[in-house]
């Protein structure tokens, strides 16, 4: 029997990019694998839920869970993993904040099902059948499906989370630092997000070009702007860069590719709502003072969801949209 610490890895509502990020550790993953025993990883290895159910409570040192929670099955398994693991790590933007799948909180079960199963142009579903938690197959066999919830939940709304490894996907260094901290017993205070508690602007290579008195009189969309590579702070050009409301630690991946930050590392500790914090910061630097002129500037920014809540709608204060029924 090995004495190595046991580790579990699981995915919920996510794209698979977080699993990819683990594999992208390249040679470094070999060190990780040498130091631990992976006892549950449905995407990559053949384990059954029953294997986990048979474990003693707290038998695993840690479970890494990516994806938000949208299905009852996911809720059941993360609760199981919570019992069987000493530590739970929310891995990646979706487990942390709902992520891109969390944009579905602008809809509910009914509108999602209608679109996906009834209205989609490529569908062939004349009877308008949508998934049911229980149904009869051939009139006699009972088939069960997990329940699809109305909303996408960040992991910590379902179970107690010890640490968060942020990012879409987490950058290799962020992951390795987390593993090192676990194995060396150097984890910070429970509840921490394992990346520096400062804003991306603080570490941005473009920060010195940010004017002292920044003002905005028009918002521009990046694909319609031809000077993205001029090395200057994006905000100066009226391009929304989430840097001021986003945690540092990704290595400024997007900025270095001449694209503004979309906020995947989530906010620093003091920010309750990343999107509205950014909106507030931007609003404060709108140039004109007269209401009519303010509104003219804001007409160039028609949407408040995708630019500000690309990764964090279910983590926002209001959590989801109210559906008009």
């Amino acid at each position: 029997m090995s004495e190595k610490p046991k580790i579990g890895i699981y995915w919920c509502s996510s794209c698979g990019g977080c699993e990819e990020a683990l594999v992208d550790l390249n040679e470094a993953i070999l060190d990780v694998v040498a130091a631990v025993d992976i006892v549950f990883w449905p995407v990559a290895m053949d384990f059954k839920y029953d294997d986990v159910r048979k474990m003693k409570d707290g038998e695993m040192l840690a479970s890494f869970i990516n994806g938000g929670v949208r299905l009852s099955e996911q809720e059941d398994i993360v609760k199981l993993l919570r019992r069987k693991s000493q530590l739970i790590f929310a891995f990646g933007s979706c487990a942390h904040m709902g992520g891109i799948p969390g944009l579905a909180n602008m809809n509910d079960r009914e509108t999602v099902f209608n679109r996906v199963y009834r209205e989609m142009e490529s569908n062939d579903n004349p009877e308008g059948i949508v998934p049911e938690t229980e149904s009869l197959v051939n009139g006699k066999y009972k088939a069960e499906l997990p329940e699809f919830y109305n909303s996408v939940y960040p992991l910590d709304k379902i179970i107690d989370v010890d640490y968060t490894i942020p990012g879409c996907a987490p950058q290799p260094q962020t992951i390795l630092d987390a593993f090192t901290a676990i194995l060396e017993g150097k984890l910070p205070e429970k509840g921490s997000v394992l990346a520096p508690n400062k804003s991306l602007c603080d570490t941005c290579p473009r920060k010195d070009t940010k004017p002292d008195k920044l003002t905005i009189d028009v918002f521009r969309r990046p694909h319609l702007y031809d000077k993205l590579d001029d090395g200057r702070c994006f905000l100066e050009a009226g391009i929304i860069c989430m840097g001021p409301a986003t945690r540092s630690g990704c290595g400024e991946r997007c900025i270095n590719a001449n694209m503004p930050c979309r906020g995947c590392y989530g906010p620093p500790d003091d920010v309750k709502d990343q999107g509205v914090r950014m909106m507030s910061a931007l609003a404060s630097i709108i140039q004109p003072d007269e209401e009519e002129d303010i509104q003219k500037v804001l007409e160039t920014l028609p949407d408040r969801i995708v630019p500000f809540y690309m990764y964090g709608l279910p983590r926002s204060i209001l959590f989801r949209r109210k559906m008009n029924k």
């Binding site: 602008m106 329940e147 919830y149 109305n150 909303s151 309750k272 709502d273 999107g275 509205v276 914090r277 909106m279 507030s280 931007l282 609003a283 404060s284 709108i286 003072d289 209401e291 303010i294 509104q295 804001l298 028609p302 949407d303 408040r304 969801i305 500000f308 926002s316 204060i317 209001l318 959590f319 989801r320 949209r321 109210k322 559906m323 008009n324």
Partner: protein, 143 residues
């Protein structure tokens, strides 16, 4: 209270230098304004972070008012212009969340306008009574 028994919960952020004075006069002169308004005194309307507004709605308010000094009169010179900008930024977000437009309002009330204070609060109360409860906890907890 309205006929259906609904008593709106309204949170009003009032700035210390103008609107709080207005509220004070309204109170002292026993003007008839709704008792179901919770006043939150802030130093300046510019201190009202949109996060406060959203938290109030999430935590049970049916409506939120932000009241500050008239443009040009802010004790901190530009605070209320900032408020005006943030408010205009915030409104479309509320709309996208299907929160009725009138649930969050911004108005200017000076320290001497007790009568205006009573009037805008009363009008707010009537509008929210008509809209009915917001019940955000129900919106966000429905599995």
């Amino acid at each position: 209270m309205s006929e259906n028994g609904f008593e709106p919960k309204i949170v009003a952020f009032v700035c210390n230098w103008c609107s709080y004075g207005g509220a004070d006069i309204a109170g002292n002169q026993r003007m008839n304004y709704s008792p179901n308004v919770t006043l939150v005194r802030v130093m300046c309307s510019g201190r009202v972070d949109p996060e406060f507004v959203l938290e109030a709605l999430r935590d049970g308010a049916d409506g939120v008012m932000i009241l500050g000094c008239h443009p040009g009169d802010c004790h901190y010179i530009e605070g209320n212009y900032r408020t005006l900008k943030r408010y205009n930024m915030l409104k479309p977000l509320l709309k996208q969340f299907n929160i009725e437009e009138n649930r969050v309002v911004l108005d200017w009330v000076s320290a001497s306008e007790g009568e205006k204070f009573a009037r805008v609060v009363q009008a707010m109360n009537e509008r929210i009574t008509q809209l009915g409860p917001l019940n955000w906890d129900k919106v966000s907890s429905e599995r």
